[in-house]
């Protein structure tokens, strides 16, 4: 799960990580008021969307008076932001964060994350702040510093101190840096974050260390123990269909093709997309119906697939282990009848109760193409779409 910059900064502040003062605004008037209450000579008006690269796309403006802040907010609010991280249709800006400007002497990069390769937490830092860290890693890997932290031993002060000196910070700032890192790490653990990224971390002309931007991702598996984090969820920032899928406990990812897919199990669902591509087709979605798939769930899954107007055929691929193919077949028949499915249906049932399942489909009188193997299923689904478009 992701949150907005203003929410990330509130969390950082809660954990003692210094951030510039700022206020949220949803209208130009609120932005003007916020700028006035900050009272600094420079304020920054920043679009709040779940995507990076806002500055280059025109979503961040530096202004010098409350009047200018109002003007900037009126330009940013309501705009559709296109950055490398937004979906193709862009993201509509509904909120801006109005923040006190800082006098920047130096920009650094700092992140806490979980490093899967070594199964430890990692502090990742660089002197190249304000740039895409992937780019820095590609061009100048020697400028990326990594310190691993054992999950049971936890962060040691000497690790943070060493990192501060390696970043070239003067001795009198290293103490502040250690406390900054400590706050970041405490937040990371306390809220089950999967990543906390500060880019840039700035050293001001007066020697303060501040988180100028903040991005936090949370471990979805741990949300059950963080109701405060769940409360920060912004449904408007999430894909409508992915959100609907979560509510009924299905894993769904929208894609740009025309063959809707319903599969049980994440690995087989990914492999089904690969199969469709291999046969020259293009899938409309990833959908893992999970181990508990039954009649009702199949119907809900069909509803979800059919919400995508690009879907021209549906491929159901079930390898029954825990899942019973006869229950899936009942669900497919019910969904096709009750939802009035008009697109071609290709159904492959294997494993537990598959003979019974296939009989249910055959007896339904519905126009369902049965497939025996995974290869058959892929070819038949692609053929169904090709036939429809001719």
């Amino acid at each position: 799960m992701n949150v907005h910059e203003y929410q990330a900064k509130a969390l950082l502040h809660e954990f003692g990580v210094p951030v510039p003062e700022g206020h949220l605004a949803t209208t130009p008037e609120e932005a003007e008021k916020a700028a006035r209450s900050l009272g600094t000579p420079v304020v920054v008006v920043k679009a709040q969307v779940h995507a990076g690269g806002r500055g280059k796309a025109g979503g961040v403006k530096v202004v010098k008076s409350p009047g200018e802040a109002k003007q900037a907010a009126s330009e940013i609010l309501g705009m559709t932001l296109h950055t490398p991280q937004t979906p193709p249709e862009g993201k509509l800006v509904r909120k801006v964060y109005v923040e006190a400007g800082s006098s920047i002497a130096d920009e650094l990069y700092l992140a806490v994350l979980f490093d899967r390769a070594v199964e430890k937490f990692a502090l990742v830092a660089s002197t190249e702040g304000g740039m895409e860290i992937e780019e820095v890693a590609e061009r100048t890997p020697e400028k990326i510093l990594t310190v691993h932290v054992d999950p049971n031993e936890g962060l040691q002060d000497h690790q943070a101190r060493g990192l501060g000196f390696d970043l070239g910070l003067p001795g009198d700032q290293v103490g502040r840096f250690v406390s900054f890192v400590r706050g970041l790490f405490d937040l990371f653990l306390a809220r089950d974050c999967s990543q906390v990224e500060i880019n840039p971390l700035v050293v001001t002309e007066t020697g303060e260390i501040l988180a100028l931007d903040g991005k936090i991702n949370f471990d979805d598996n741990a949300l059950y123990r963080h109701p405060d984090v769940v409360a920060m969820r912004d449904p408007e920032e999430e894909d409508v269909r992915e959100r609907a899928a979560q509510e009924i406990d299905l894993a769904y990812v929208g894609l740009d093709g025309n063959i809707g897919c319903m599969v049980n199990g994440a690995g087989l669902a990914m492999a089904t997309l690969d199969m469709i591509h291999h046969c020259g087709g293009s899938p409309a979605n990833f959908l893992d119906a999970g181990g508990g798939a039954d009649k009702e769930k199949v119907k809900e899954a069909f509803k979800l697939i059919l919400r995508d107007p690009n879907v021209e055929a549906i491929l159901v691929n079930i390898f029954g282990g825990i899942v019973r193919c006869d229950l899936i077949a009942e669900g497919v028949v019910a969904a096709a009848q009750e939802l009035g499915v008009e697109v071609p249906l290709v159904v492959r049932l294997q494993g537990t109760m598959s003979v019974e399942g296939r009989a249910i489909l055959a007896d339904s009188g519905l126009n369902i193409t049965p497939a025996e193997t995974l290869a058959d299923a892929g070819q038949m689904a692609v053929a169904a779409v090709d036939k429809g478009s001719k």
Binding site: E119, D219, V253, L273, F319
Partner: protein, 292 residues
Amino acid sequence: MAILCDRNTKLLIQGVGRMGQFHAKLSLEYGTQVVGGVAPGKGGQEKEGFPIFDTVAEAVRETGADASVIFVPPPGAADAILEAAAADLRLAVCITEGIPVLDMARAKSALADSDMRLVGPNCPGVVTPEQCRIGIMPAAITRPGPVGVISRSGTLTYEAVDQLSRLGIGQSTCVGIGGDPVIGTSFIDALSLFEADPETSAVVMIGEIGGSAEEEAAEFVKSNMTKPVAAFIAGQNAPPGKRMGHAGAIIAGGKGKASDKIAALEANGVSVAPSPADIGSTLAQAAPDLLG
């Protein structure tokens, strides 16, 4: 022989809720020695023909169990793993999906001092055909034979096993290692067990996007494996930044792409199936003797 479990394995069920009981019953029917269950506060009861104990330690004392399968829900699952290790079990297989990464990171780090092998979490389990079923796999599709199967996924394992069985190629042991970012047994761990197993003569490994375990396994195959290895990588068309069902199946920061994994495997002598329908046939080509 096989690996991890055989007809002598004495299995405990940790977490005897609806799912734990259901699969304990299927394992018993398959011929697995299910010797007891663990449910704190329910010790002394009887379920599906085996006794329930309050703690793993007590269950081990009373039954001589050497392995455990864990169905405990996510909030208590990491603790259940550590309880199994504290009771000196040889093997724990964790089926639970949805354990927080932080909990697993801590548990895995703590297991470094233990002799217990953990398989999973978020895995379908382990089956040694006609001998022992641990977990939730539909054991009926397996048949005994010389091929070791290792997979990060559940249903895709069934697909691969089914393809092998249809070609008349049986399996020594099928191991689901799990789809989470932190897992107890890696591809490399399972590959080295199969390399050492005299009853295994070839291995199928099924990977997916996310992490770098397949790349590491590829190098291991080149330097340590004498037996042929065939592979498939799922998610060749997955968009970056999206979690594809499994918590660990995500391309993040340009890392974990299927194309990189396939290139690493092929460069190190592993035959990679071009499509998921070709897993069985790719292995048959890599190990032609198996088709006899």
